[in-house]
Amino acid sequence: MNSPAPSPAKPTTTRRFPVREVILFGALLVAILGVYAVMGAAYSTRMLVEASCYAILALGLTIQWGYAGQFNAGVMGFVAIGGFSAMLFSVPVNDAFWGTELPGELGRVLLYLIGSVLLVIGATRLHRFGVPKKLRTVIAVVLAVVLYLVVLSMLRGVTGEIQSRAGFIGGLGLPAWTGWIVGGALAGSIGYFIGHICLGLRSDYLAIATLGIAEIIKAFLKNSDWLTRGTATVSPLPWPTPGPSELGFTLARALYLSVTAALIAVIFFLLHRAYHAPWGRMIRAIRDNEVSAAAMGKDINRRRLEIFVLGCILMGIGGGALASFNSLFDPQGYLPLNHTFLVLVMVILGGPGNNLGTLFGAVAVYIIWLMSEPLALFLMNMAVYVGEGVFGWEPPGNLDSRALQARVFVIGLLITLVLRFAPQGLLPEKIKHHD
Amino acid sequence: MPLLEARDVHGGYGGMNILNGVNMSIEADEIGVIVGPNGAGKSTMLKAIFGLLTVSQGEILLRGEPIHNLPPNKLVQKGMGFIPQEKNVFPSLTVKENLEMGAFLKPHNVKRMLTQVYDFFPPLHDKRHQPAGELSGGQRQMVAMGRALMAEPEVLLLDEPTAGLSPLYMNEIFERVKQINAAGVGILMVEQNAKQALAIADKGFVLAAGQNRFTDTGAALLADPDVAKSFLGG
């Protein structure tokens, strides 16, 4: 921190050699090669693709938390929206749905919905025509309730029909990347909605609201069988690249990896530019000292909203890439542990606000995460073995799910330990004092 | 032995020193007043004495016992009272509850002290069941002083007790400070209204840039043309 000021003559050439980065990434490379040697190329490449998808999510969270100090406790929801969008756009067209009158029926309900929304909005403007404000509010609320119930019953009817006659509405048969983009846009708009409400308030409220919206999104995707097949899951989802049936597992996955890697490179480059641009400086100024930034006339809430939405967009894109790669859309597979807290650990361990650190954290934590699964099971079995042998203890049946719970505990412990002992992460954000 | 003594005190916030060697001492029957321009470190000095910021060098003694860097609740136990400038009451607690909080460490004294404080500030008795947040500025200052007195302090630190008050209340507060001192409580206060404050001061400390500039009796400082020219606005 107290490094001597660079000489004014050539201030840019006094860069130190990044020892820490080289060591950490070297160790990571060794770990990856080790996994390749032990687990084989196909498995390891799959791991890398998944890690790269997680890296996109982590970059989304690092700009929200690291750049702007906004904590998003509902990454899972945005990931699920991205996955849903990837599914909806890439899955083949379902003729059993489109061939009937059902799309028309659904469209009619949507029209009713739009009409009702317009009516209610109109009702809230009634006071301009001389209706007393209290009466206007009553009219608007009653109208909203009645119309909501009417549209809802119509929707229940149509969706029930779709479900029983066509299964679900199917996809649009478009390339997967269209779904990723729309997924990012959807996640971004939900982020806008939440951010718009919460960003002027205490940061705790944003955490609560995002946690809530994530569970709601999951509940919606899980229970809307007409749209997502719900618990029946949708699979396979087509890849944007040639699949394993054409190229074999390793090559196909490597090709997919090149797509996600290119995506990360682009995001990384843009973020790097933005971080050092006036916009990025402003964001950090707001994070570090809100009051003085406000005093300088920065429109704080606007900037915060931008960064929050941007982070959510990245999460949507990453979620789309992840779902496409898994070739499966399973709403129940979205778990706070895997899709919120794992990403959180990646960010705070790697170094919030440091893109390179986040990237390192994402890959390193994902490898540990994958490797810990057999390890946890092994330890559980050991414990049971010892327990049976020494204490004559009757082991519970569902060891697999209990091993999962052990990982929940470890992730929680990791979060608290990092916050306490390494709050800046392994690669801390570099704050320049002499700009 | 002086009641309260500060020797060469250095300190500040987050590595930035605001106090660069301040010396002070008051006796039990004295009123000490700290004056000086904005940013001179007046309030900071008071906070340093009350353990609200770290003293990096020098020492603070209460009856000869070193007390620097003790937490506030220990200092209250040792007989020190502090009245901050702003937010000096608990707004949602009633006046009576505010006073009770002052005697938190001496719960057996509450009844006796309540009577004394009500006698000293009769308006507080009338408003004792009203939330302190609903009172006027002057009445709040009374609650704040009453709260501090509840602990029967030996020395009372006041941070700008008259800030934002009308002249009428200002005189009343100075009058009260004199009475408290007459009852045997040493006073150390920071004041913006330097002339009126020095008029009642036994000792005055003029601070500038975190150091003593002038130290003398209140009357002598008021009479000193240098002090008057630089710090009392002519």
């Binding site: 409220y205 609560i208 929940v408 709050p423 | 609200l52 000096n88 709260r147």
Partner: protein
């Protein structure tokens, strides 16, 4: 008339039950919020922990209840409250206090509490599994049927034993909390600290003691809320985030840092939930013949399906944040 009885059973009683549980949970959240200034995300899992302690104690001493004449879990509740309070104080010492000592922003404490909630979740589910279990072991839930003195009401109003215990315990908890906060020296100091922590320190109040007391109360109440919930239905170890949202919504609706507001908020959220999933067709059916021909009454006229129950507290949360972020009773901390 039977429709009215149905309404009483499904909305009035069910709503009060849920409301009481949320209220007791929200009091804990709001107290922690007002003293330590952060949203404590581990509260729901503390509730689960309390209920789990009751379950373990009931399993260990199943016969105790019969001796006293109360269900065993209720007899075990005080002990579970003590254990949960100890847990809460221990968690604070181990995880939150070091963070506070570093002077971190409140949001870092929020993340820390998320870490804690995962640890609790992991431990509880490691030992308890994830399936639901009844707290009534070898005992029977007493069911009281109250016949209404109207000729048309042929069906009784149904109240179960745990529900009656729940109402009694809720009232006891609220009254004792009220007395504690307004009569006792520590309670007043707690309010003082929530008002103005710096001045509390300057008054000689030992803030560490107040923090510990807050955790004892929050932990104890969490055990009560968790146990009541488990008594009413069953012990479910995996509710965590589904409880957290309504409880936070209740605390915010009532005005953060405001214990009485939290109680009101709890009932608002509880009744809103039950009203939203209630099938209004049942009430409308008797008057259906007054409707015009074209208006056909759908079979299901609930605002949201039970699977979307969590939308209700979220909607309330959003609404209150938009219109009145300080809550119905003006909260202190925003």
């Amino acid at each position: 008339m039977n429709e009215l009885v149905f309404f009483i059973n499904n909305v009035v009683i069910a709503g009060s039950v849920t409301g009481s549980i949320y209220a007791i949970g929200a009091i804990g959240v709001t107290l922690v919020f007002s003293i330590m200034r952060f949203a404590h995300f581990a509260h729901a899992d503390m509730m689960t922990f309390g209920a789990f302690m009751v379950l373990l104690l009931t399993l260990a001493f199943p016969g105790v209840g019969a001796v006293v004449g109360l269900p065993t879990p209720v007899v075990m509740l005080p002990l579970a409250m003590v254990l949960t309070a100890l847990l809460a104080v221990g968690i604070d010492k181990a995880f939150y206090k070091p963070l506070r000592a570093h002077g971190v922003k409140p949001i870092v404490l929020v993340i820390g509490s998320l870490g804690v909630t995962l640890m609790l979740q992991g431990l509880i589910r490691l030992f308890a599994g994830t399936s639901a279990q009844s707290l009534y072991i070898g005992e029977r839930k007493e069911i009281y049927r109250l016949d209404l003195p109207f000729e048309l009401a042929t069906r009784p109003v149904i109240v179960t034993e745990p529900q009656i215990i729940l109402f009694i315990l809720t009232i006891t908890a609220v009254v004792s909390l009220h007395l504690f906060l307004n009569r006792s020296r520590l309670g007043k100091a707690m309010r003082a600290m929530s008002d103005n922590p710096d001045l509390a320190r300057a008054s000689g109040i030992n803030t560490n003691t107040i923090v510990a007391v807050t955790w004892v109360i929050a932990g104890g109440l969490a055990a009560v809320a968790g146990t009541l919930l488990s008594l009413d239905v069953t012990f479910k170890p995996d509710l965590s985030f589904f409880l957290l949202l309504p409880i936070f919504a209740a605390a915010i609706v009532g005005g953060v840092g405001h214990p009485y507001g939290a109680i009101a908020g709890g009932f608002v959220v509880g009744f809103a939930e039950t009203l939203a999933v209630f099938n209004w067709t049942v009430l409308l059916r008797p008057v259906q013949h007054h409707f015009p021909e074209w208006l056909e009454l759908p079979r299901n006229l609930a605002f949201v399906g039970t699977e979307y129950k969590i939308v209700v507290p979220f909607f309330i949360l959003v609404a209150i944040l938009v219109w009145r972020p300080t809550g119905i009773f003006k909260g202190k901390v925003i």
